[in-house]
Amino acid sequence: MDQVTSAPGTGDFAQAELTVPADVRYLVIIRRFIHEAAQVLGAATKSIDDLVQAADELATNAILHGYRGQLGWIEVAVRPAGGDLLVILRDQAPPFDPRLVPEPDLSLPLERRPVGGLGVYLSRILTDEIRYHALPAGGNEVILVKRGVRAAK
């Protein structure tokens, strides 16, 4: 049998996509989808868990603080790029660049510790890079990057 460089359907042109309503009850679907797609694309378990949580945090924010109860959609895509894995989140909520959220001060005492911003902070720690684009027609695109997590074929 000839040696192949990557399994069919898992090369750089492979992309799995999901669209769900902007409703927190669908967060479980988003997490499962990313988990399954990342597994198909050969990502390591720890990296999958990190990407799943980072995406869960940012999708939660988009639903709660972006859409604020308005009807809308969250689009999720999982895409390979060489040894890297990308999770792309898109929404049509007002512009919000997660890279601009200040880091919470974790040294503050309990009484003064703010509870906001923690999700964005975790999503930064759990990924290698976060890219952001305001979509031309309105809405946001956030790309979560995890580097070198796909097994060499």
Partner: protein
């Protein structure tokens, strides 16, 4: 997600969430912590032995519960954190805020030993 609440000698209450603590599940846990505090039951152990995922919403729910419990001279103590959950606690600095124990029994016992 399911949530089991039980008391041990009416002194210490245990909440045992099961599954993944995402936003909806965290809201249920926050409600449970609030109800205990409303009833003056402020010595609480959260048994995390069956929780394999903790979103920031879960951290916030625990912190809100902890603040209320301490105002009532109680505490919220955590037990049996999975490695993944422990990682999230450390990343967010919450390991400095909560007292954690290897088992629920040890967490319950800690209230008897040194209060509050």
């Amino acid at each position: 997600m399911t949530l089991r609440i039980q008391t041990l000698g009416d002194q210490v209450w245990t909440i045992a969430p099961r599954g993944r603590l995402d936003l909806p599940a965290a809201r249920a846990m926050e409600d449970a912590l609030n109800e205990l505090c409303n009833a003056g039951r402020a010595r609480v152990v959260v048994d995390l032995s069956e929780v394999d995922y903790m979103a920031s919403a879960g951290l916030k729910a625990l912190l809100t519960g902890l603040r209320r419990a301490r105002l009532l001279n109680g505490d919220v103590r955590l037990a049996a954190l999975h490695e993944r959950v422990r990682d999230v606690f450390e990343m967010s600095g919450f390991d400095q805020v909560f007292r954690t124990f290897p088992t629920p029994d040890e967490a319950v016992q800690s209230f008897a030993e040194c209060g509050p």
